[in-house]
C-alpha cells in the first residue's frame, strides 16, 4: 500500500498524463482515478473537487519546473552567469514543455487564474533567489540590491515568457542581453 504522500503524487502524475493526452477540459475525475489505478472515493479523499485537483496539478508541475531551473543554474558563480544559464534553461524547458504548449494552443484562457494567483509570488521567489548573487556582485554606486533583484526577476520572467527580438537559443545573444542590456546599468564598470 502506497503511503499518503506517494498516493497523492501518483494521482497528480496520472492526472498530468491525462491532461497531456486529452487537454484540461476533457480530463474528468474518472479519467484521473482510472489512470492512477485508484477509486473515485480515494481520489476524492485527496482532492475534494475537480477544481482542487486541477489546481494541485498546476502547482505540482510549476514546482517541478522551478526545481529543474534551480538545478540547471546551480553551477553559476556570478549574477551574469545565473541569469544567462537560467534564461537558456527556462526557454528550452518551455519550448519543450508539451503540455504547456498544448494548453497554450488550445485553452490558453485556462491558465489565467493560475498566473494571476502566482504572478507576484513567482516574481518574489525569483528575486529572492537572485538576491545572494546580487549581494555578491560589485554594484555601481547607488544601486539598491533589493530593487536590482526585483528588476532582474521581472525581466527574467518577461524574456523567459517571450524572447521578442532575441534568440535565446544563441548563447552570444543571451550574453549580450544579460551583460549589457540587463546588467549594463547595474554592475560597476
Amino acid at each position: 500500500m502506497a503511503s499518503e504522500p506517494e498516493q497523492r503524487e501518483i494521482i497528480l502524475q496520472a492526472t498530468y498524463a491525462c491532461i497531456a493526452r486529452w487537454g484540461v477540459k476533457r480530463t474528468s475525475l474518472e479519467d484521473a482515478a482510472s489512470e492512477a489505478g485508484v477509486s473515485r472515493a480515494t481520489l476524492y479523499r485527496y482532492f475534494g473537487s475537480r477544481e482542487q485537483l486541477m489546481n494541485a496539478v498546476v502547482a505540482w508541475e510549476y514546482r517541478r519546473f522551478f526545481e529543474q531551473l534551480i538545478d540547471d543554474v546551480s553551477d553559476a558563480s556570478s549574477l551574469a552567469e545565473v541569469m544567462e544559464l537560467g534564461l537558456q534553461s527556462a526557454r528550452k524547458a518551455i519550448a519543450e514543455h508539451e503540455v504547456l504548449q498544448m494548453v497554450l494552443q488550445t485553452e490558453p484562457a485556462l491558465l489565467e487564474p493560475t498566473f494571476s494567483a502566482v504572478g507576484s509570488t513567482t516574481r518574489d521567489r525569483v528575486a529572492q533567489f537572485l538576491l545572494p548573487y546580487v549581494l555578491a556582485a560589485t554594484l555601481a554606486p547607488g544601486r539598491d540590491p533589493e530593487a536590482v533583484a526585483d528588476y532582474l526577476a521581472r525581466m527574467f520572467l518577461s524574456y523567459m515568457g517571450a524572447p521578442g527580438r532575441w534568440d535565446l537559443a544563441e548563447s552570444d545573444q543571451v550574453k549580450s542581453l544579460v551583460e549589457y542590456e540587463l546588467l549594463g546599468g547595474i554592475l560597476a564598470s
Binding site: D71, P108, G142, A162, G164, Y180, E181
Partner: protein, 216 residues
C-alpha cells in the same frame, strides 16, 4: 435599404466608426462574453443589416476592428507625447508614465481586467505576448532612432515595453509608474545606463558554458 434615420449618414466609413464606437461602449458596460450583434446595433442605432453590410465577419470582426481602433488611439496619444522628448531619458520616462496613465484610466480595459481577465491575459503572457510586444516595439522604436543605432533602438524600445507590461500585470505598490520623479530615477539607473554602456563585440563570446542535459 437604409432606414430614414440612417439616411443622413450612409457613408461606409461613417457607419463603420459608429458601429465601432457602439461596440466599445457595450464592452465597457458589460464585457465581450454575452455581447451580441443586436446589442451593438441598438447601441449604434443602426439595423442588423447595416452591421452585416459593414462588417461581413460579424461580431468578431467588429471586436477586432474595435481593438485596432483603440490601439491606434493609444499609439497616437503616445506619439504626441514621445515626440516632445529632448533626450533618451526623457523619451523613456514619457513612454512609461504616459502609457501607464493612459492604460490605468482606460475604462474598457478596467472592466475587462476585473470581469474577464482571460480576455486581456492571453495578450500579455506567453500566449500572444510576442504579437503584443512586436506591435508596441515597432511603434516605439522609431522614436529611439534619434539616440541609438537602429538595432539597439528596437531592443531598447522592447525593453521599455517589457517594463511597462511587467508593472501593469504585476504592480509594485512601492513604485508608481505614473510618478515621473520615481520613474526618472528608475530609468536613469536601470535603463539608460545600460543602453549607453558599450555593446559587446559579438565575436568575443562564442564559447558557451556546457548546459546540463535535460531529459524531456
Amino acid at each position: 435599404m437604409p432606414t430614414v434615420t440612417e439616411a443622413h449618414e450612409t457613408t461606409a466609413a461613417g457607419n463603420r466608426m459608429r458601429i465601432i464606437d457602439a461596440a466599445l461602449a457595450c464592452v465597457t458596460r458589460s464585457g465581450t462574453r454575452k455581447l451580441t450583434i443586436d446589442d451593438i446595433a441598438s447601441q449604434a442605432g443602426v439595423s442588423r443589416a447595416t452591421i452585416y453590410r459593414t462588417f461581413d465577419g460579424g461580431r468578431d470582426a467588429i471586436l477586432g476592428a474595435t481593438v485596432e481602433t483603440e490601439v491606434a488611439r493609444f499609439f497616437s496619444t503616445m506619439a504626441a507625447a514621445m515626440g516632445r522628448a529632448h533626450d533618451l531619458s526623457e523619451l523613456i520616462v514619457t513612454m512609461i508614465t504616459v502609457s501607464a496613465t493612459y492604460l490605468s484610466n482606460h475604462q474598457t480595459l478596467a472592466f475587462l481586467r476585473a470581469h474577464e481577465p482571460e480576455t486581456v491575459f492571453t495578450h500579455l503572457t506567453f500566449g500572444r505576448i510576442d504579437t503584443t510586444l512586436d506591435a508596441a516595439t515597432s511603434f516605439a522604436a522609431p522614436f529611439f532612432v534619434q539616440w541609438l543605432e537602429p538595432e539597439e533602438a528596437s531592443r531598447a524600445a522592447e525593453l521599455v515595453v517589457r517594463i511597462v507590461v511587467s508593472h501593469l500585470t504585476d504592480p509594485d505598490p512601492a513604485f508608481d509608474l505614473q510618478d515621473a520623479a520615481a520613474v526618472t530615477s528608475f530609468v536613469d539607473t536601470f535603463v539608460v545606463a545600460a543602453l549607453v554602456a558599450p555593446m559587446a563585440p559579438r565575436s568575443r563570446s562564442t564559447s558557451t558554458k556546457q548546459q546540463k542535459g535535460r531529459s524531456s
